[in-house]
Amino acid sequence: MSIDFSIVWQQLPQILSAFWNTIWIWIVATILAVLLGFVVAALRRYGPLWLNLLLRLYVEVIRGTPFLIQLFLLYFGGPFIGLSLEPIPAGLIGMTIYGSAYFSEIFRAGFAAIPPGHVEAAECVGLSRGQIVRRILVPEMAMLVLPQLVNMAIILMKETAILSIITVPELTLVVGAIGSQQYAFVEAMTMLALFYWALVEISGWLGRLAEKKLSKFRFAV
């Protein structure tokens, strides 16, 4: 088996456009999932008990089943209940829901780690609920859970490969197709590994940078 990268090289524009798809879908879905996860965690902490239990069920079901199966049911099962989504919106929604369950657990731990005294101090000087969330909880949370958020974002990035099952033209689908059209499996796989590895390294590096920035206001004891 000879290895010849020129085969893959000729398809570079197509690969780059798929790479771009992977990146933007990943970034948008991660942002949405972080927001939804935060809302879920906040509602679980401050909302009524029944909502807490309901959301707990949501989180456990989403965490307990593979993304592939969720996506399949959403995309191919949706139309039977009147929810017919195009591939990219379906992929974004699926990833957002999937990620939100994990992010909400990270935030739940973060909420528990913020000393209750910090909230009490805010109550004492008269901050309202919303102000407490915006001015105290969110920034403190950011520095507490940043490493886990980055970790989870990286896991989500690799899950984007599964979007291929609903025909989203992302990196794995396109490079895989080129590989099997041209019978250049090893070349295609190497290419895939390189692209993902570069993405992971870059986002890990950004995460460490942000951590360093935030470490200035570590908790004073």
Binding site: G64, T65, I69, F80, F185, A193
Partner: protein, 214 residues
């Protein structure tokens, strides 16, 4: 769905659980070694460990599996499907578990180690009696998380010829053309397995709580 097909799904679920469990155990052992190497002050150990973690966390599991299964034979090493699946899963999870454990070891309070120094424990005794048990308690939730992730990620091992739960669902929907049914059943089985693992995890956490730090 006939009971026979349901049995098939359960058989495949058993395969998923078995291979995942073996991989998690082997991965934990490798992860411990990698973690020890990464914590080592010797560059000769810590740099390769860092590269290992970076590679195996960075490259998608699917690609790792295909490379193990299809590249090694080219080099003259035949790997049976099950072995390739276990190798891929355990090498991958080892990288994540090494990082979890490293976090655990790093957050063992320095004072507890100094106290062990003061009563004359050797480094090995400290590791065995103080550092490892405390680090393990700290990392248990992350380990449980990783187990669940590996259980689910094991759906990828069909690419090296192992028929596990997801692949069985695909196979059966391919002959009956009723994918929604089989995917729903597979999802439900995954859910039950993950719940059992998570339940076991929180039980273990509760059992160890008496000894938790203040």
């Amino acid at each position: 769905m006939s009971t026979r097909l349901f049995e098939l799904m359960l058989w495949a679920a058993g395969k998923t659980v078995l291979l995942s469990a073996i991989s998690i155990a082997i991965g934990l052992a490798i992860g411990l070694l990698v973690c020890a190497a990464k914590l080592s002050p010797r560059k000769l150990l810590s740099i390769p460990a860092t590269i290992y973690v970076s590679l195996f966390r960075g490259v998608p599991l699917l690609v790792q599996l295909l490379l193990i299964y299809n590249l090694l034979p080219v080099l003259g090493i035949m790997v049976p499907s099950d072995v390739a699946a276990i190798a891929g899963l355990s090498l991958c999870t080892a990288a994540y578990q090494a990082e979890n454990l490293r976090g655990g070891f790093n957050s063992v309070p320095r004072g507890l180690i100094e106290a062990a120094d003061m009563v004359g424990m050797s480094p090995w005794q400290q590791l065995r009696r103080i550092r490892a048990p405390i680090a393990f308690r700290l990392t248990l939730p992350a380990l449980v998380n990783e187990m669940i992730l590996i259980l689910k990620a094991s759906s990828l091992i069909s690419v090296v010829g192992v028929i596990e739960l997801t692949r069985m669902a695909q196979n059966l929907s391919a002959s009956t053309f009723r994918p929604l049914l089989f995917y729903s059943v597979a999802g439900a089985i995954y859910l039950v397995i993950c719940w059992l693992v998570a339940g076991g995890g929180s039980l273990a956490e509760r059992l160890m709580r008496t000894g938790s730090s203040r």
